[in-house]
Every structure is written in C-alpha cells, then in structure tokens.
C-alpha cells in the first residue's frame, strides 16, 4: 500500500488555478495526474474543469489538454487514442476527465460507444452529483431528496448507477474512489494506467457551494460519504468485485456504517428533507448495500 508520502512531488495541476476554494476536483485531478505522469493527454468536456484551467491565454494544467463539447469527451478520447496509435505512441495515457453531467447524462452515449469500441483510455467521472458549473442543477447522479436549483423541493427520483451501466460493457477495469482516500485513488489510477482497453473510474467530489457546506469541510465530507456507506469504494477487475477501505466492512457486514444523518446534516442541500425522505434514503442505501453484498458473492 502506497503511503501519502510516497506520492510523486511532480505537480500537473498548477497553483493559481480558477477552482473555487475547497474544490474537490483539483484534489482528484492532482492525485490522478501524479499517478499518470507527464505522458498523459487529457480531454475535458464542458464542466467545472473547463473553468478550473483558468482563462486563455493562461492554463493551470501542465499536461496537453483538449477542451471539447459537453457530450463529446469519450468520442474525442477515441480520436486521440487512434491518432496516438497511428503514430506508434501507445505509451501515452489518454484521460477523459468529465463531470457527472457529462458522463451520466449528456455524454452517456459517447461514453458507451467508446467503451464498446474498446478505446484504450481512462475515463474519469468526478461526481459532484449535480451540474455545479452551471449553478447547481439536478443531474442523473443527484440523490433522492437533494435540493438543487431545478429541484427546489428536493429531487423526487433516485440517482442512477452509472458504474453498473459501465460494468455491463464488460470492460477490464472499473473503480470508484473518494478524494478523502488519496492513496487508494492513486493506486487505482496507477493500476488503470497499466491496463489496456477502456478503464472507468468514478470519484465522489463533494462541492461546497453546491452541497451547501463550508469550504473547509470538503475532505471530511468525502470521507463521511464513505463511512456512512452513501458512497462505496470498489474495484471491478477480471470479473472480480473488491470493496476497499471502510466500504469493505459495510458490504461484508463486519463494519457498522456511521448514521447517514451525520453526512446529510452537514449539507444544506438536504436541509428540508422530511422524516419520510430520510426513511427513503436509508432504505435506498440498504438496498444498494444488499445488491453489492450479493454481487460481491457472485463475482
């Protein structure tokens, strides 16, 4: 297990970038790029990450970066990868770096296409569970009950499970991670880099202005998401499903998750949920754990 001190000192997300204070995306990308290194080309659809780069003619990304339309990250990655392959540059990692809007919703078709085609790339969905960049609208990843600017009385529908959709493509590597566990994220990124074919990673990215919590609490929020079982960290590799960190105990039943209220109460977006809503959220979580308990026994 790699320790935080072992992470390379090279920085590919530079200081002075345009991220909000307490932004989880820069934490996630910083860790990812430490693992992937200099020989990485990144493609970024419309998302907070398009803003974080900062304004032309400056940039805060120290690896070659292509900005592309909202729904087109995975397709552009297929093109980059094909061009690299045609030039014999197969040692370069192609990283598609998209939010949940660009992955769960508008970019799902392109993602599915690239996965099915076997594009040799890493697709990362940094999931802040809403359209943060456009001012906190609901996405397919927004959880039940959450306030957004398009669900003023709380979202009435459950979030979809994109990683499951991705796994149905039978790709070699799927992993979920949390920015509160950077060494786990680093290890997964390193592993993904070494595997040929499509790799999918999803990172929970608590957004202070969107989730309505203090900007000093980002990492804490990402840790609580895991400790309460609201977010699960796992890897699906060679037909084997493995849970990591606290998620392992939550799924195999050896660890009692923290009450989900601890996580919900820290977030303004769940301020107005009713007792019935809370019951619904808890029921949904239990069902999800149960689903994965069974699934991990199968695989």
């Amino acid at each position: 297990m790699v320790s935080i001190k072992d992470l390379p000192e090279n920085e590919y997300v530079l200081e002075g970038n345009a991220a909000c204070p307490g932004c989880p995306i820069t934490i996630a990308l910083r860790t990812m790029l430490k693992a992937l290194g200099k020989d990485t080309i990144i493609t970024v659809p419309a998302s907070c990450s398009a803003v974080i780069q900062s304004l032309y003619p400056k940039t805060s990304f120290a690896v070659p970066t292509l900005n592309i339309a909202f729904e087109a990250a995975a397709a552009s990655a297929s093109g980059i990868e094909a061009a690299l392959h045609a030039q014999g540059k197969d040692d370069i990692t192609v990283l598609a770096w998209a939010g949940d809007g660009g992955s769960y919703d508008i970019g799902l078709q392109a993602l599915s296409g690239a996965l099915e085609r076997g594009t040799n790339f890493i697709y990362v969905c940094y999931n802040n569970q809403m359209y943060s960049n456009t001012g906190v609208q609901r996405s397919g990843a927004t959880p039940y009950g959450a306030w957004t600017t398009t669900t003023w009385t709380g979202k009435k529908e459950k979030q979809k499970n994109l990683a499951e959709i991705v796994m149905a493509h039978d790709i070699p590597y799927v992993a979920t991670a949390s920015i509160a566990y950077p060494t786990d994220l680093y290890r997964k990124a390193k592993k993904a880099k070494e595997i040929k074919g499509p790799k999918y990673m999803e990172i929970i990215a608590p957004c202070p202005p969107g989730w309505r919590f203090d900007m000093s609490k980002t990492v804490e929020m990402a840790r609580l998401a895991v400790e309460t079982g609201a977010w699960l960290m796992y890897e699906f590799e060679n037909g084997k499903l493995t849970f990591n960190g606290p998620s392992k105990g939550i799924i195999d039943g050896s660890r009692e998750p923290k009450p989900v209220e601890d996580w919900l109460r820290m977030q303004g977006r769940f301020k107005n949920i009713t007792d019935d809503d809370l019951k619904e959220i808890k029921k949904e979580l239990k069902e999800r754990w149960e689903f994965y308990r069974k699934k991990s026994q199968l695989f």
């Binding site: 200099k38 020989d39 990485t40 080309i41 493609t43 398009a50 803003v51 780069q53 900062s54 304004l55 032309y56 003619p57 940039t59 990304f61 120290a62 690896v63 070659p64 970066t65 292509l66 900005n67 592309i68 339309a69 729904e71 087109a72 995975a74 397709a75 552009s76 990655a77 297929s78 093109g79 980059i80 990868e81 094909a82 061009a83 690299l84 392959h85 045609a86 030039q87 370069i92 078709q109 392109a110 599915s112 296409g113 099915e116 085609r117």
Partner: protein
C-alpha cells in the same frame, strides 16, 4: 488509370489515396458505401489507417477533432441528418482550426423521411467556418477530395473542408474517372504537418475559456483565412490543371460566359445538367452561359460580380431558407448588387433535367421566377 464507378466509391478511393491516419464515420444513406469501402480498405491492409466505428455522427466529428488535434490527417463522410447532428462539432472543428476533410452527400431533411438530394443539409452549415465545395461529376469528386486536403492544411487556411455532392444522382451513379497513380498523388499531397497539436513534450491547453478581450480576434482570423482561401483554391486548381490536366475554374466554373447576355448560376448536379441546357440554347442562338458555383464558402463574390456586369443572372437553388428564399440567390444578390431571376428547384430529389433548366430560362425571359414545378411550371 480510367475507371468507371460511383461517386461514393470514387470518394472512398480518393480518401484512401490521401492517406488519412484516422477515419471515423457513422453510416447514413446515401453515404454508406463510402464507409463500407473504407472499412474494407483498412481491414484488407490496403490503407494503413485507424478506422473508428463510432456510434453517431456527433462522435464521428468529435473523434476526428481529437485525432486531428493529436497531429494526424483525418477523413469522415456523412449526409443529411448526420450532418445536422454534427452541427455543434462542425463549429468546434473550425474554431479549433483543424483541417479535417469531410464528404457530405446532399440529402433532404425529414420529416417526412427523404433520402433524395437537396442541399438544405449543407446550406444549414453555412456559418460553421467550414469551406464548402459542390461537385458536379465523379471525376470532380475525386479531384476535389485530394485538393481539399491541400487547401485545408495550407498555412493560410487551416480550416476544415466539406465536399458536397448530390445523393444518388452522383453518389450511386457510375461515371468514368481518371485516377492518377498513388505516387503522383503523394507528390501533390505531401504528408500532413500540423500547425498545432497535443504533444506531451510541449504541453498546451487548447480551447479553454476565452474572454471578450480575445474572442473577436479568433473569429477575425477565421474570416481572414477564408478570404485567403479564395486564392489558395484558385492556385491549387491551377496546379492540379498543370499536373493532371483538369481544372474546375477554382471557385466558379464558367462556361460560355464571355459573350453571354444571360448566365445561369447553379451548383452540384443541376450545375452539370445546365451544361447541356446551355448547349441546346446556344444552338437556338441564345447567348446563354453557365456559372457553376463550385465553392460556396468562401463565397466567390468578386467572380460573380464580374459575371453579372454584362449579363442577367438566373440562379437555381436546390435549397430553401424558409421565410426568405434560396440561400445562393440571397448571397448572389448581395454580391452583385442588381436584380436577378431566382428559382427554387429539385428539393427532396425532384428531378431537374436540362429541359427543366431551359424552361426556367424561358420563364425568366417572360419575367417570371419562383418555385419551379410548384408555383411556376
């Protein structure tokens, strides 16, 4: 080598001989046979290229953008609804200054579903920043695809090029074409040397947020490049003529315009058909010429203005900007500054024969114009 084949097969052959490193395409009638042929070339090893079998036209263009931005020559082809789905990425390719070359087979838009020719698909892409060529023969399709790479990749241009031709009328019709040997194509079209690319040893960020203090210059530079492209196209047409013995007049192909009192302006298959109409009218002693609009973007304003100085123009549009008129007619009027006769004809593949064009000439002489076969017979 003389061959007889369909425009689609000839387009695929031209694309192959241009040696793109990445091809990405999604099938749509009547473009499909291009994609099939190219897949065959790649799978048989005749063409060393990556073929991305995308799940949509939007992704076809997005992947061409990704590939071209990574420093290689690309090719794609589409038609009609496919082109419309690409629309956002067409803007993206042009603003990213990526010299992608694409064939578009002109096909009408639904509903109701129509697979037959008209140009509303490509006319709707007028303002994307792409150069637009309209071809009238299978030979011209071949020649223009090779030329298009030279034009697009020229340092003064650095913009994508769309080569259009009529669905079925050209795409599925066999005609003779002279195909030069590969080595002659190679010396006319050297390997691609990109002006910018994604390079891990020289990292750049392309396309991040740009403030109002820079954006206008980006657009202005595109406009300058399109204007410069006029001469580039003409020069390359001349070079092609010198090398291979064929010329299409650069932007506008003029036929018997010198002494003409009336000039028919048309493009694509109607432009070819009008050739026969001019011959017949000339036999009857009518001083008629033909200006076949080969390039719609950049718009050959000066050329048309010059033709209009001594002759009345009859413009035939195979498109309609609903709520106004034919798109070519609007632009020609703006360019020449005087009144013209204008017809809408051939929408949704309605046949336009040389006799129909003669009839349009006669109607124009009776001071009539409009929707041919709908409001004027």
């Amino acid at each position: 080598m003389k061959i007889i084949d369909t425009a689609n097969n000839i387009a695929a052959l031209a694309a192959k001989m241009a040696r793109p490193k990445v091809i990405s395409a999604y099938p749509i009638t009547p473009q499909t046979t291009i994609v099939e042929k190219l897949a065959q070339y790649v799978e048989s090893g005749e063409l060393k290229s990556e073929f991305i079998r995308v799940e949509s036209e939007h992704s076809a263009m997005a992947s061409c953008i990704g590939a071209e931005a990574t420093g290689v020559r690309t090719f794609t082809a589409t038609s009609s609804h496919g082109l419309l789905l690409m629309h956002e990425m067409l803007h993206w390719a042009a603003l990213a200054r990526l010299p992608i070359v694409m064939v578009n087979i002109n096909r009408a838009i639904g509903p109701g579903w129509s697979i037959w020719s008209d140009c509303n698909d490509s006319i709707a892409q007028r303002d994307t920043g792409w150069l637009q060529f309209y071809c009238s023969s299978n030979q011209e399709v071949f020649d223009t695809i090779i030329q298009a790479y030279r034009v697009a990749e020229h340092k003064d241009v650095q913009l994508p090029v769309m080569i259009n031709y009529d669905g079925f009328i050209l795409s599925h019709t066999s005609m003779p074409a002279d195909i030069p040997p590969q080595e002659e194509i190679d010396s006319f079209l050297p390997p691609y040397s990109p002006e910018w690319k994604l390079d891990v040893d020289k990292p750049i960020t392309h396309g991040n947020i740009i403030g109002p203090e820079y954006y206008m210059e980006v657009r202005y530079d595109m406009q300058l490049s399109q204007m410069k492209a006029k001469n580039v196209i003409k020069d390359i047409d001349k070079e092609w003529h010198k090398t291979f013995g064929r010329s299409y007049g650069g932007l506008v192909e003029e036929y018997m315009c010198d002494d003409a009192d009336t000039v028919i302006v048309a493009s694509g298959a109607i432009g070819a058909e009008a050739h026969a109409s001019v011959d017949e009218l000339r036999k009857k002693g009518k001083k008629v010429g033909l200006a076949r609009l080969r390039v719609f973007r950049p718009f050959p304003r000066e050329e048309l203005k010059k033709i209009a100085e001594n002759s009345e123009l009859i413009v035939i549009d195979r498109n309609i900007s609903v709520g106004m008129e034919g798109a070519m007619a609007t632009e020609i009027k703006a360019a020449v500054g005087n009144d013209i006769k204008q017809f809408i004809a051939g929408l949704g593949g309605r046949d336009v024969t040389h006799k129909d064009i003669i009839r349009m000439y006669e109607l124009a002489k009776e001071n009539k114009d409009g929707w041919y076969s709908v409001e004027v017979e």
